[in-house]
Amino acid sequence: MTDNYSNRCKGFICGLWSVLRRPSVKYSLGTLLVVGFVSGIIFWGGFNTAMEMTNNEEFCISCHEMNDNVFQEYKNTIHYSNRTGVRATCPDCHVPKEWVHKVVRKIQATNELYHKVMGTIDTREKFLAHRLELARHVWKAMKNTDSRECRNCHNYEYMDFAEQGRRAVSQHSKGLEEGKTCIDCHKGIAHELPDMREVDPTAVIGTN
């Protein structure tokens, strides 16, 4: 069987294939395990390195779509500059910390590559026209996860109500018990809002 096969096929690939098919005689099981383990680490490490490289602000704003619009606006907000100098960067709010969720988000993000190529939001005008739709995606995601990314930094359990403002205290104790989540009340915390007339007409000029 094996002989027949190698007789028919002589190229490099086939040679390699036949070696792979042959049960190992030369190498001990131990060696094989070690080699497998090491290359696993290299592959795994490479994968995670790639994930980390694409998980920082510089990467996000390397696309002008992200840099010219949302990034510029975010620079005027409390998550960019504040009293204590602790910053929240793009992935802190938009990419989950847990590995599985992170991979899922990274796969979803390939959609952004597609729209980058298609030029869906490559001008300010196009971006504004799409903004409500994009914001809605983010709101929905945050609603579904009970604002998981906010809670990575802001833990309700450790909020000192004695230190919070009057409005914050009453809304937090009431709202969170009613099952509301951070994004229900804190829209527009890091960027300017899209045209809100469909979302909340009472808060927009010129609506009836």
């Binding site: 907000t77 409390i78 403002g165 009057r166 409005r167 914050a168 009453s170 809304q171 527009g188 300017e192 809002l193 899209p194 045209d195 809100m196 909340d200 007409p201 009472t202 808060a203 927009v204 000029i205 010129g206 609506t207 009836n208």
Partner: protein, 145 residues
């Protein structure tokens, strides 16, 4: 001609007088060619109870922080708490009827354009001393004294 000349003389005289007395800016005296120093930024007061009004027609002072509250064409952060739809849930005072009138006194369904930019009339408070001593007192009808 004489009239014009005398007008100019009077004007010059007034300017001269003013200079002689020394006009003093409330911000302190800085020579024109020198760079003025920016005053210390004031800390806005923390959230508190509504502040008593001094007369009925006064735009009430804002008793809470408003840093980062955007008001633009797309949305008005203040109204997300003070509109008739949201005030109950937010525990806020609702905007009054006058905010729904345009300048011809037409009554509108939603907040009028001349009342959209809230911070034109409503201001938050910082512990700043009055620049000029004054004897301003709230009207009796409100203060009750």
């Amino acid at each position: 001609m004489i009239k014009k000349l005398s007008m100019i003389l009077v004007l010059l005289g007034t300017v001269g007088l003013a200079q002689a007395e020394g006009v003093r800016s409330l911000r302190g005296h800085i020579d024109l060619q020198d760079e003025s120093r920016a005053p210390e930024p004031k800390q806005f007061a923390k959230d508190g109870e509504p502040i008593a009004r001094d007369y009925v027609q006064q735009p009430p002072l804002i008793p809470h922080k408003i840093k980062g509250y955007r008001i633009d064409r797309n949305s008005n952060k203040c109204l997300s708490c003070h509109s008739w739809k949201h005030y109950r849930e937010a525990g806020a005072t609702k905007i009054s009827q006058t905010h729904f009138e345009d300048r011809n006194k037409n009554v509108l369904a939603n907040v009028s354009a001349r009342r959209y930019f809230c911070t034109q009339c409503h201001v938050p408070q910082a512990g700043a001393r009055p620049l000029v001593e004054n004897t301003f007192k709230p009207v009796q009808a409100i203060a009750g004294e």
